[in-house]
């Protein structure tokens, strides 16, 4: 059947096929590892949508980077730091994965930050919130992409205090993320002249918040700050309405409300809630185009985590192409050199502490009358310029910054 090629010719052909790819890219393939919560409380915020977002970035970039094919691998970390760290180590040290994306859940992210630091491979965080990733726990290979607790605090906290909400009571979910969000918000509230009347730590996850809401009500604070996320924020907002807390004059400040949570609550329950996010699908042509493709594949509109996974994957691939290699230091240098420009971030840039600086947005959830459909939920109140949204380098405790 096959005509035999002369041996030298076959060798040349084989070399021509493999040589460019293996020249500069480790084991000849660029592997993007999506570390996500596939079935737990954050599965709608990250999960399958993050895998699709990574695939979409690769499709938009082209099938090869620096001449090597690109692959996506994914794993479910179940929101457990030990599972995530083990998987990340296996990927980075044995399976030839070149970059980690998403990595939702703050406690997970802090563990993975250390693994990536030891393996010296880039970790691009779009899912987790804790600002510790670019503060005391910063890493030369860790980049925090989509948002962080500091920017949430600046966005929602400052806006609420300036509207007269100057006394706060916190419902704080009892793990790294909640503590970080609470601390960052308290700093903003106090800097703006507000006061904190109390705080209660709620176990993760909690189904019934009524007891904690009553304590918040008894405190007499004008604002109840919800330092929680996912199902916890859905249940706490819903039950606050049930117990008439919002009707009796106290206001809720949702410090981290993902779009998937707002959608689950619906405009009827969530109306009027102020929140900060790094992305909303209905902002301009670019976001709408991405959202349209996304909803066709996933069945839901993208969250800021999904948009961040897309943006970070795309930027990583651009840097690999520009560096002509997937060697970590060369790629990171290019990532910091090339401006980040896509529908998620306009003129975004990466700082020495690993913070990707881009504009953040303050939204208010529309009323059922304003909303034209189940996905039409946010009204833009304010664009928070990147340099205001994120912690100034002068306040950062990141050891990489030197003195």
């Amino acid at each position: 059947m096959f005509r035999r090629l002369p041996v030298p010719l076959a060798l040349v052909a084989a070399l021509a096929l493999t040589a460019p790819a293996s020249a500069q890219v480790s084991d000849g393939v660029v592997r993007v590892g999506v570390l996500a919560d596939m079935a737990g409380v954050y599965a709608d915020t990250s999960g399958q949508g993050s895998i699709e977002a990574a695939h979409m970035a690769i499709e938009d970039f082209g099938t090869t980077a620096a001449g090597a094919p690109i692959e996506v691998v994914y794993a479910d970390h179940q929101n457990k730091a030990d599972i995530a760290a083990t998987k990340a180590r296996e990927w980075l040290e044995v399976d030839g994965v070149d970059v980690l994306v998403d990595i939702i859940t703050s406690s997970v992210a802090l563990a993975v930050q250390e693994v990536a630091r030891q393996a010296h491979k880039p970790a691009l965080f779009s899912g987790p919130a804790t600002s510790r990733l670019t503060d005391a726990d910063c890493s030369p290979v860790g980049i925090h992409w989509a948002y962080d607790t500091y920017s949430l605090a600046v966005g929602t906290g400052r806006a609420v205090v300036r509207e007269g909400g100057d006394s706060w009571y916190f419902l704080t979910v009892d793990y790294a993320f909640g503590h970080s969000l609470e601390a960052d918000t308290i700093r903003v509230v106090e800097a703006e002249g507000g006061s904190v009347l109390g705080t209660v730590r709620t176990p993760f996850p909690t189904a019934d918040f009524s007891s904690f809401l009553l304590q918040a009500q008894a405190s007499g604070a004008k604002i109840i700050g919800l330092a929680n996320a996912g199902q916890d924020s859905v249940n706490s907002v819903k039950q606050a309405k049930e117990f008439g807390i919002t009707e009796m004059g106290q206001k809720l400040a949702g410090l981290l409300v993902f779009f998937s949570d707002a959608h689950a609550l619906g405009a009827e329950v969530a109306q009027g809630l102020m929140l900060t996010a790094g992305f909303y699908w209905d902002m301009d042509e670019g976001t709408r185009a991405f959202a349209k493709r996304f909803i066709e594949r996933v069945g839901a509109m993208p969250t800021m985590v999904h948009a961040g996974v897309y943006s970070s994957t795309l930027h990583y691939l651009r840097a690999v192409e520009a560096a002509g290699s997937d060697e970590t230091d060369a790629v990171l240098a290019k990532m910091k050199e090339i401006p980040i420009d896509d529908f998620f971030a306009k003129n975004g840039y990466i700082r020495a502490d690993g913070r990707m600086v881009h504009d953040m947005f303050l939204f208010r959830v529309k009323t059922p009358e304003q909303s034209t459909g189940e996905w039409d939920l946010y009204e833009l109140l304010r664009v928070i310029p990147g340099d205001e949204a994120f912690r100034p380098l002068s306040e950062s405790a990141c050891p990489l910054l030197g003195d």
């Binding site: 079935a39 176990p203 909690t206 189904a207 904690f212 009553l214 199902q231 998937s260």
Partner: protein, 295 residues
């Protein structure tokens, strides 16, 4: 204002009431588990999934068929009860001759499959279910604002618990059931169709879980994983009350709701572990449970 350990009395009263409301869910759920364990000796790990199914059945009935809350309160348990009957007939039945562990593993697997399917189709964020018109609003009790719906939850679950207790402990049907647990061969020799009773009992247990699910739908988000965390607590309630003890399950359910409510005031961080601490203590000092009989 009167204070107890630095907490105003009014706050404390509010928290006790909240504890009672949460206790209602524990009571109905642990009752179902206790009934199933009492007769089938099956540790029904699918109970949390059946609770979730009840809530979803109510939501689906409303969204797809326009069936309201009150009808759902009867229909959802009926539907879930029937699926329970199918599960018992086709799967559980084959495991009675083996160790309890097999029933536990089967129902645990079923729970994972059911929850996985619902997560896949509806997403983990779940769906909102509105409070029925008749039970909207709330009453100001002076020490707290009580949503009418929460009051209804306590009444509905107390009614269901007492009725179930009455049927099992005070009627002829109940006496057959109890006799069946003591000595199956003898009861069958008297012409009682025990396999049928076992099937119906499992269906009834599943229906109780679904009933709790419908009660929970307007308060919590109707979500695929709503039962997973709750079910572990409910197992602890059953163990503390004494496996298979009907009255024990109900009283312990309400009691532990109160204990948990108080923990939320004095040391909120421990509120999801306090029940397990109590369970450990009970197992140490009274292994058969507070209301169980020593074998």
């Amino acid at each position: 204002m009167t204070e107890i350990l630095g907490v105003p009395l009014q706050v404390l009263l509010g928290q006790l009431l909240i504890g009672l409301i949460n206790g209602s869910f524990y009571a109905v759920l642990s009752l179902g588990l206790a009934v199933i364990f009492g007769l089938l000796r099956i540790i029904n790990f699918a109970h949390g999934a059946q609770y979730m199914l009840g809530a979803f059945a109510a939501w689906m009935g409303f969204s797809y068929l326009g069936i309201g809350y009150w009808a759902a309160l009867f229909l959802a348990p009926l539907v879930v009860g029937l699926t329970g009957i199918v599960i018992e007939r086709t799967m559980l039945r084959r495991l009675y001759k083996f160790d309890h562990l097999y029933g536990l593993l089967l129902t645990f697997g079923l729970a994972l499959v059911i929850e996985g399917l619902f997560s896949n189709f509806y997403g983990v964020s779940g769906k909102s279910y509105a409070v029925p018109e008749l039970l909207k609003g709330g009453v100001n009790l002076g020490f707290m604002f009580l949503p009418v719906y929460r009051g209804w939850v306590v009444i509905a679950s107390l009614t269901v618990c007492l009725t179930t207790w009455f049927i099992i402990e005070r009627t002829k049907l109940g006496s057959y059931l109890r006799a069946g647990t003591e000595n199956p061969q003898l009861v069958q020799a008297f012409g009682v169709n025990l396999p049928l009773m076992i099937t119906l009992t499992y269906g009834f247990g599943a229906a109780l879980a679904a009933f709790a699910g419908v009660l929970a739908a307007p308060i919590y988000q109707v979500a695929p994983l709503m039962g997973t965390n709750l079910i572990i607590v409910v197992f602890a309630v059953v163990v503390i009350g004494g496996m298979g003890s009907i009255l024990g399950a109900v009283l312990t359910g309400f009691g532990l709701g109160l204990v948990e409510g108080l923990t939320k005031v004095f040391y909120p961080e421990a509120s999801n572990t306090v029940i397990f601490v109590i369970m450990a203590l009970v197992l140490l000092f009274k292994p058969a449970g507070l209301f169980g009989r020593e074998a």
